[in-house]
């Protein structure tokens, strides 16, 4: 379980003014849950990712994993970034091999197969499409055997068609591996389609405007977007 407890954080803008991002933020993510955080840009989504990942320390408050406070970044929670985070000088296989504990060929192949990248095992990231790169980022994260996957707008750089195809595959991979996911996005449809729960951020300092449970069972396919329930959820969640 991941618990974000009483986070207070601010930064100084260019004029030296204090901008309070979080003033006592609380959020809990249960095991194997996929939780999306949506909100307009500048509402502290990326700051939250950085705090949960351990890249920055909040000025006050803490992030607890299984009731233990985190002190920095770690293998128990891997971030999938918005931009390219693959090592472009390593092949697909080497990208995975670098981060796994078990460096055997079988283990590396297992993850390559999970992403359906078998034909690209010895290709460099530059030779992959945007969607394939994201899948590789995901299985590379899984290869570290973390408890949590943190996704910071992972699909933002992809075009609509690539996203559509990727969502289902992403869900399959994540659900297959039984990981807990924190997804940050500005795309409401994406958030509804992928998650168990959508948390809407709003304002400065950031408040949780609403929390919406998404009732569709997994595995989900893209036809659920045509359902009236899905459309109603879209209307209910307004940024």
């Amino acid at each position: 379980m991941l618990k974000i407890k009483n986070i207070y954080h601010f930064y100084l803008n260019n004029d030296g003014n204090k901008i309070v991002v979080f003033n006592g933020l609380n959020l809990e993510i249960k095991e194997k849950e996929i939780v999306s955080i949506v909100g307009p840009s500048g509402c502290g989504k990326t700051t939250l990712v950085n705090i949960v990942a351990g890249y920055i320390k909040p000025i006050n408050g803490e992030v607890l994993i299984n009731n233990k406070s985190i002190t920095g970044p770690g293998r128990d929670r891997i971030v999938i970034n918005q931009g390219d985070d693959l090592f472009e000088w390593m092949t697909v296989a080497d990208n995975i091999r670098l981060v796994t504990k078990d460096k055997s060929e079988d283990n590396v192949n297992k993850y390559i197969k999970l992403a359906h990248l078998g034909d690209f095992k010895n290709a460099y990231p530059k030779e992959l499409s945007g969607g394939m790169k994201k899948k590789l980022s995901l299985v590379r994260a899984l290869a570290a055997e973390p408890e949590f996957i943190i996704m910071d707008e992972p699909f933002a750089s992809l075009d609509y068609q690539a996203k559509e195809e990727l969502y289902e595959e992403f869900l399959n991979i994540v659900k297959f591996s039984d990981k807990t996911v924190l997804l940050v996005t500005h795309d409401i449809e994406e958030a509804i389609f992928l998650s168990n729960r959508v948390v809407v951020f709003f304002g400065t300092p950031t408040l949780i405007k609403q929390e919406v449970m998404i009732p569709f069972p997994y595995p989900r396919d893209k036809n659920i977007k045509e359902l009236n329930d899905f459309k109603e959820l879209k209307i209910k969640i307004r940024l």
Binding site: V79, D85, F87, E88, W89
Partner: protein, 244 residues
């Protein structure tokens, strides 16, 4: 093909120009005379020994520079404190042209190979260092974050991430460094050596053999060109992820 045709026709044009103005008292030899001297020198073989001597010096000096500039550059980029300690010294020494070091080099290493290695080393070190350093401080934050999240060991980070990320920058440094090394070795031989292409030019200056001087210059050009081609080839082999 086209470039070679243009090149050849330019040479022929110069030759024609020479035959038109050859009645005047002209100190420079014509292309034909230079070609003739080139054949004579090549058949005698001594100039090849001189070229080999220069090549040996440049290779040793260059490799010394590579072996020091790359690790120091990477470490300065990796460790800011290390970097801020080294940078002022390097910035202070960098503007001094290698040629200005020749008297000191001769005092330190005597006339001969030692001082040539030293001058070549100085010529190649700074461009390689600066580019390596620049490469390693340009590592995007995302890679640092990924490294922290995956808890990748420092030694693995330096050798498999920072070094490889910096490689394209390093090759830029190597190319500039090779050019500097080649210029430096000729300069060093002009003053403080008993062999090499620089020495060959110097001797022929004293003998007033301008045709041989031009032969030496041509060889310097050809070898320099070949060396930079060789480095470009090495770059393609070493950095395949950039090519595809």
């Amino acid at each position: 093909m086209k470039t070679w045709l243009i090149f050849l026709s330019t040479i022929i044009f110069i030759q024609l120009l020479f035959s038109v103005i050859s009645n005047q008292n002209f100190f420079l030899p014509s292309p034909l005379e230079v070609l003739n001297a080139l054949f004579v020198q090549l058949s005698q073989g001594e100039i090849l020994i001189d070229a080999a001597m220069s090549l040996e010096r440049i290779i040793i000096g260059f490799l010394l520079a590579v072996a020091t500039a790359i690790p120091v550059g990477i470490l300065c980029g990796y460790n800011q404190r290390f970097g801020s300690f080294f940078r002022p010294f390097i910035e202070l020494l960098r503007p001094i042209p290698p040629i200005a070091w020749i008297p000191i080099a001769i005092l330190l290493f005597g006339i001969g190979d030692g001082s040539s290695y030293f001058i070549v080393f100085l010529g190649a070190f700074f461009p390689i260092f600066i580019n390596t350093y620049f490469g390693s401080i340009s590592l995007p934050v995302v890679y640092k974050n990924v490294t922290q999240s995956f808890e990748i060991k420092k030694s693995v980070f330096i050798t498999k991430i920072l070094f490889y990320f910096s490689l394209p920058y390093i090759f830029t440094g190597l190319k500039i460094g090779m050019g500097m090394a080649w210029m430096s070795v000729i300069a060093a031989e002009l003053i403080g050596a008993q062999s090499g292409l620089g020495y060959f030019i110097q001797i022929n200056r004293l003998l007033l053999r301008t045709d041989n001087i031009l032969v030496g210059m041509i060889l310097i050009g050809i070898i320099g060109f070949a060396l930079s081609k060789l480095l470009s080839l090495a770059e393609k082999i070493v950095i395949p992820w950039r090519e595809k």
